[in-house]
Amino acid sequence: MSQDFPFVGKFPLSDYIDDGLDWLTTTFSGVTRAISTVLGNGVEGVVTALSFPPPWVVILGFAALAWYLAGRRVGIGTAAGLLFLWNLQLWQATVETFTLVLFATAVAVAIALPLGILGGLSDRFKAAVMPVLDFMQTMPAFVYLIPAIPFFGLGQVSAMFATVIFSMPPAIRLTILGIRQVPKELVEASDAFGANWRQKLFKVQMPLAVPTIMAGINQTIMLALSMVVIAAMIGAGGLGGEVWRAIQRLQPGNGFEAGIAIVILAMILDRVTQKIGQPKKKQQ
């Protein structure tokens, strides 16, 4: 009893949040169900497409893509890493995790880019969005799982929702930064030649912000990968699911195998996206 706050009862914050979420779930159930179906089918479709051909074909394809985007070394590394994962019998789980990260990142970037651009152009919008970003990043990621379930049910889509929320902030932050760090002489030069805001944005500010924005997207991908184990707790499967199962069954060997697999996948995605962000040599 002595632990309770004196004189007034507990502020019913949790009740408010629950009521609010209930309201949201019922009001937007149509929308959430539609999102759920579209994304769920999308993820499933890609997973099926990647699982259908023999693994070596897909691995060759990915290695070629990595080579093209990031050079020979990354291409060879990608081939070696993925072959190793196949050998560990984690190919199916890798495909699932990769697809989930791909979709989560796509959704996160689709939301982050416009918000980041607004924040880059408007001081007021930036001031409003910054505290929200801090909140999103400091809130323990587990907490996002709880509202995700009533919205989207157990499984991939809920996992994606939590992943998107958790991984989006760096993409927004670095888009804001990228736009703002465009030298003001260059913005002034475009003004002097009569550019309107759209011309300025798409001909000068965005192209010059690309390396910074890509750094943000890279971080978003890494954060999304770091969510896979947590996401597995609500049935996302994939490599995170393998880790989660190993924890529950106390199988350290299996746990490490799946953990290493996540690291390999992370390294491949990191190297490839880092290279995309760098300007071509010619321009340096």
Partner: protein, 424 residues
Amino acid sequence: MQPKIQVKNVTKVFGDHPERALQLLDEGLDRKEILQRTGQTVGIQNVCFDVAQGEILVVMGLSGCGKSTLIRCLNRLIEPTAGEVVIDGEDILKLSNDQVLERRRRKFGMVFQNFALFPHRTIMENAAFGLEIGGTDKETRDAKATEALKLVGLDGWEQSYPSQLSGGMQQRVGLARALAVDPDILLMDEAFSALDPLIRRDMQDELLALQSRVKKTIVFITHDLDEALRLGDRIVLMKDGYVVQIGTPEDILTSPASRYVERFVEDVDKTQILTAGAIMHDSRIRVTPNDGPRTALHKMDQESFYSVFVTQRDGTLEGYVWAEDAAEAVKRKEKTLEGIIQRDHYAVKPDESIGTLFQMLVDTRIPLAVVDDNGKLLGTIVKTQVLAALADAQPDKEDAEAGDGEGETEPTQAQETAEAKVGA
């Protein structure tokens, strides 16, 4: 004929409460007091001048005197607080935002101190930028950009990127970008100030050559007296945001130089000390003792100098030779300069202060040599450079040599122009 540009009582106050500053300006307070009392910065105040069609008007003044603010009021990159800017009979301060964009696309080309080229665009795409913004189709704008690049001597570089070009070449691109839209008016804000002295001279010459062909109306900003005298049909002198004097280079020179300098520099921070190194020009014209007198004569002839410095191959300063002596040596069929090298020149270190230099320049007919600790020739200084530097800053002691009477001024002027020809 109606002036191309009329600037009428234009005032710009930076800050949240410009009206307070405007009132205090009316009451006759100066910039410093207004800043102290209201926190508002007066960028420029009551500036008035006209620019005629086809004229190069140079606006000159110390850093912070409001030159950049003024030139940006002409195309409304900065919104004036009060006044009128009339271009072709139209007060552009009364135009809507869309109209302003349209005027910028059609009438103005601007060149910036730090070039402000777009690093992600090729030279061609940079030059075509204004046309692209104005909605010209790709074929036409490529043709016009190519033509503009040719005009500034950059054909062949179309597909390079700005970072592959030297500073001088980058500014040519900046100029081409401004010329490509075929504007009536070129606004050039310290366009050559970031360039090396030698390249800067070349660019000035080229701008003049270009101007004789394209006949634009040019507003050119500089803090350099030499540059102002070379380029300006007329010069507007500014101080602390207001106009001190408007006139032709002759007006500026024939008005008492010392008084002009004095008035121009009176408020400069006295702790700012100018040095020989800061004001010298690179000396590209020099000879070695083994060069024949004929070579020496030829080099002097090219630049219309009466003397030239002699250095060893590694740049160590030996002395100088006179043109007459070299001519004599040619007659005597001497093969080297050894016999005629004079050694009574003044050599100073780059950190020598400007006050001392002035004293030396009064005593000698040839330029001062600036040498490093090993005696290598770094550059040369003639009297005009010291005067120009004096216009930019105050020497650390009151300068008796600068004089203050009108009588003293005339010979100084004559001497100065004579000596300019001797300089390297």
